[in-house]
Subunit: 129 residues, 3 copies
Amino acid sequence: MTAREIVGELPVGGTEPLISSAVRWGDLLFLSGRAPIDTTTMKVVSTDFTEQGRNVLDQIMASLAEAGSGPEHVLRVQCYLLNADDFGAWNELWAEYFAAPRPVRTTIVTGFTIPGMLIEVEATAGIPG
Amino acid sequence: MTAREIVGELPVGGTEPLISSAVRWGDLLFLSGRAPIDTTTMKVVSTDFTEQGRNVLDQIMASLAEAGSGPEHVLRVQCYLLNADDFGAWNELWAEYFAAPRPVRTTIVTGFTIPGMLIEVEATAGIPG
Amino acid sequence: MTAREIVGELPVGGTEPLISSAVRWGDLLFLSGRAPIDTTTMKVVSTDFTEQGRNVLDQIMASLAEAGSGPEHVLRVQCYLLNADDFGAWNELWAEYFAAPRPVRTTIVTGFTIPGMLIEVEATAGIPG
């Protein structure tokens, strides 16, 4: 029987963990959207897009490793950008963090809940048996 | 052999059901994005964010129960807000409807297709065997 | 043991395939968000919403067929529109491409990374055994 398994939790605002960082269901792994914020101060880690992107992708890589997955098992990535002008820089980071053949991806332009955020990224992965 | 199973359908605009409210695939349950609208009139149920949020979360809880799932089996929630200022109120509702440990979550700021909508929420859940 | 299987790749900008068009994990199929663009020139295929929508849905139908799936096995569709005014036209295309009972769906209003894009659509499907 499959049961939900919490892989890690994210303190948001420094209080109780409001969300999980990752949840496992069978051989599927669902990650929370990762934001380039310091979860204690709720401020962005940098005003630079590439630094924000690296922070987010590093968080995702750490969560994948914690769950026994990894970038080569990522199935889908959803990326939210504040500015369409950052699409080129996002593609460069993407190609660096994920080797070919790469996951499926959707990138759209949206707003965010925390001032200064330029990117948020959500991943879905498989966990090899 | 796994087959797609429709759990419920949503009448939109009072005509034929344009979308399913929930679809089951094996032990996974996919819910439609739920909007705080009266599906007959296609008007929002309230101008108040918290009332809209409760409407949406109540719809989700009903769909989960109908499919033999429940909030403790929800894996991922994607939340779309019209105004970043509603993030605090959304976190309060979230903590009320989902007990710790909570699902993974992504919250972004977007527009909507129906005037007056302040929130839309989409859930993915497991169905315990 | 389940392993990630790339179903197809998308050349973006005419260079190496930056993303996969579809990825299979067990009996689940994840498609990239499909945009109404010519991947060689990175320009939109039309300025007309319905033509853009048909382009995107045709791409999705082709990917589903390539993977041994089809519209009747689609579980979830996420649709991103630039203009809320296109919601009616989107519903007409939706009803044409997907027969009842239909998948679950979420439609929100966002921006895009490529000028002129009016729609992007992402699908998740089952692959019948």
